[in-house]
């Protein structure tokens, strides 16, 4: 009896292993087949930088069409909008955003893409420049702000390690145990903003700020002015997009305050700069930025394109039902989904693609990342490989 049990056990293990590996073989075969099909479809696209040509590609200056590419042996080159390597004598002094951090003898500094050192390597850490200002550190704990000439423009002193760049000249820092924001250009410091968790630039001189409290599936947000004071009488929002053509997608929490949020209503739609909802979008989970008179609106089971009157021009079916998950950064995911030169990047719930004004796919949704780069270029990422496409 025992003997037969052992036999059955052995046969079961062998059968399970064989069946699983055959199943895995079919599974991975189907993945590879779809990769091969995508590759064949990619032949129709006008590639400025092919997918497996470089290890990575980063837009340095989209107006002047300058891109930094990195090779597998960790070398960096500058290329132009045609994908050609740019001569190193290129004059980049005009644009401070193009300063690139480099390391030398375990220290960090900044240089132009032509290799000319602008700020000597003397920092332990060096973050990217944003609008002429960057956060750096000299001993790993003392963080401070420098401008594009390398001059120190702000030293927080207290809890310097928590210094954080919100956007351009605005930095979060600690002062007398309170969290404040400083405009390093004017030296103007706000009152305590410790109540807020994170910020994003919503445009039209406003910041969207997440609060440090939440209830049910709501993460309340405020719209703040440039002086970081709540706008529209301290109205709370569940979701805030970005302004485009004077409109911004929001989910307004009507009747909710920090203390009282038992009985409230959600008003879903696009609001104007006065804080009034002018396009109602009852079932949307997120609305993208308006551009060229159109915006993409994400509902659970469809992606709509609406005009400024709120009329649906066309709709698409997402690859999977879209839903809002607590903590998911919609603003980041959909930040590139807007119209530009008659085409729009669309996230279909799984991948990114490009549609035209009639809602037809110009580039099928197969890319993991897709961003606008230059007037007629797209930077794309496909399964760990980066490339650049020129739009026909």
């Amino acid at each position: 009896m025992k003997k037969s049990k052992t036999k059955i056990f052995i046969l079961f293990v062998i059968a399970l292993a064989v069946c699983t590996s055959v199943f895995a073989g079919i599974f991975f075969y189907s993945i590879c087949s779809s990769i091969l099909t995508d590759r064949q479809n990619f032949d129709d696209l006008d590639w400025t930088v092919r997918l497996n040509q470089y290890e990575g590609i980063e837009a340095l200056d989209t107006n002047r069409e300058l891109y930094m590419v990195s090779t597998k042996d960790d070398k960096n080159y500058l290329i132009d909008g045609r994908g050609k390597k740019v001569p190193w004598e290129l004059d980049c002094k005009e644009n401070s955003d193009i300063l690139i951090a480099f390391s030398q003898d375990d220290k960090w500094g900044y240089k132009y893409p032509d290799g000319k050192i602008v700020i000597a390597a003397k920092f332990d850490e060096a973050y990217d420049f944003d609008d002429g200002y960057a956060k750096v550190s000299k001993n790993g704990t003392d963080y401070f702000v420098i401008d594009d000439k390398g001059r120190t423009v702000f030293e927080p002193g207290e809890r310097a390690s928590e210094l954080e760049q919100i956007s351009g000249k605005f930095f979060l820092f600690y002062k007398a145990k309170h969290r404040s924001v400083i405009n390093v250009e004017t030296g103007q410091v706000t009152e305590d903003v410790g109540f807020y968790d994170s910020f994003h630039d919503a445009g039209e001189g406003m910041f969207a700020a997440k609060t440090d409290f939440a209830w049910d599936d709501v993460e309340p947000m405020f719209l703040l002015s440039r002086s970081f004071k709540p706008m529209f009488s301290g109205q709370l929002y569940n979701q805030i997009g970005s302004f485009g053509q004077g409109l911004c997608y929001v989910q307004k929490l009507v009747g909710a305050t920090e203390e009282e949020h038992e009985d409230y209503q959600i008003e879903n739609g696009y609001m104007n700069t006065d804080g009034d909802i002018v396009i109602k979008t009852a079932t949307a989970i997120f609305g993208c930025k308006f551009a060229e008179g159109r915006a993409l609106l994400y509902e659970g089971k469809r992606i709509c394109c609406i005009d400024q009157s709120g009329s649906v021009l066309f709709s698409l079916k997402p690859a999977k039902t879209l839903e809002k998950k607590l903590g998911e950064d919609f603003e980041y995911r959909y930040s590139q989904c807007y119209f530009r030169n008659g085409k729009a990047i669309v996230y279909d719930g799984k991948f990114y693609g490009l549609i035209d004004e009639d809602g037809n796919w110009v580039i099928q949704p197969v890319f993991d990342e897709m961003t606008y780069a230059g007037t007629d270029k797209l930077l794309v990422e496909y399964k760990g490989m980066s490339g650049m496409i020129r739009l026909k």
Binding site: L16, G25, F28, S30, C32, K383, G384
Partner: protein
């Protein structure tokens, strides 16, 4: 008697095998359902099967043959073939049982994990292979026959573990006197580890050779097969004639 020998050897390692497989299931589940635990805990969850693996190797190839239990084992009416195949099959069974758990963990994580690290890694690897010209059918076939390959490597490891002990005694008698019991198994595992690591580096070095890659791999596997057969024959002969539990 072969079935009896296999059964006895399975019993010998059933505890570490059970613990090891349980941890494999936990590991596979964590990749799919608890991606953060999978991300940070894989090393610790793998540590237990590694220890269990050692315990099992020690029981199969050291204690039962040369340790305290060796006298009892030697008294059993088993032929050299029964001894060798009994131990090797027990080990093969263990590794074969772990393989579907690993594969299902990978597939589950690819399809359902929120973190998507395994998905990104697999996508990246498969894309690179396809872009290098390896056809989807070849990749599917290689994974499809992976159980056969695993069984081959398990057989090779098993006969090697048996062969290593007396080969050490035969070729370097001085060293074999110093390296006994625990250290003998450890040394055998170390040498095996170095060979496996070397093979991996070798494959990484030649993997972009296209058709030539498959010819080289075929040649290497034929050589490994011959080595496995030689070690098997030598082990059977040793347990028939030269084996002493002392």
């Amino acid at each position: 008697m072969l079935m009896k020998s296999i059964e006895m050897n399975i019993r010998m390692i059933q505890n570490p095998m059970g613990v090891s497989l349980t941890f494999f299931v936990l590991l596979a589940a964590s990749w799919t359902f608890m991606p953060l635990l999978g991300l940070f805990g894989t090393f610790f969850l793998l540590l237990v099967p590694v220890i269990c693996n050692y315990v099992a190797y020690n029981r199969l190839f050291n204690k039962s043959l040369y340790g305290e239990e060796a006298g009892v084992y030697a008294a059993l009416p088993l032929s050299g073939r029964d001894i060798v195949l009994g131990k090797v099959f027990a080990m093969m069974l263990w590794e074969t049982a772990a393989w579907p758990i690993f594969l299902l963990g990978i597939i589950g994580s690819y399809l359902y994990s929120d973190l998507g690290l395994i998905r990104m890694g697999i996508d990246s690897l498969l894309t690179e292979l396809v872009y290098r010209g390896v056809s989807p059918l070849t990749i599917g076939l290689l994974i499809g026959v992976s159980t056969v390959a695993l069984a081959f490597y398990s057989f090779l490891s098993g006969v090697y573990m048996l062969w290593f002990r007396f080969a050490l005694k035969k070729f370097t008698p001085k060293l074999s006197k110093k390296v006994k019991g625990f250290f003998n198994v450890l040394l055998a595992c170390l040498v095996l580890g170095i060979i496996r690591l070397g093979t991996e580096y070798f494959v990484q070095g030649i993997w972009n050779l296209g058709v030539a890659l498959f010819l080289i791999l075929a040649a290497v596997h034929i050589l490994l097969g011959i080595a496995a057969w030689k070690m098997y024959r030598a082990s059977v002969a040793y347990f028939e004639t030269g084996y002493s539990p002392m």
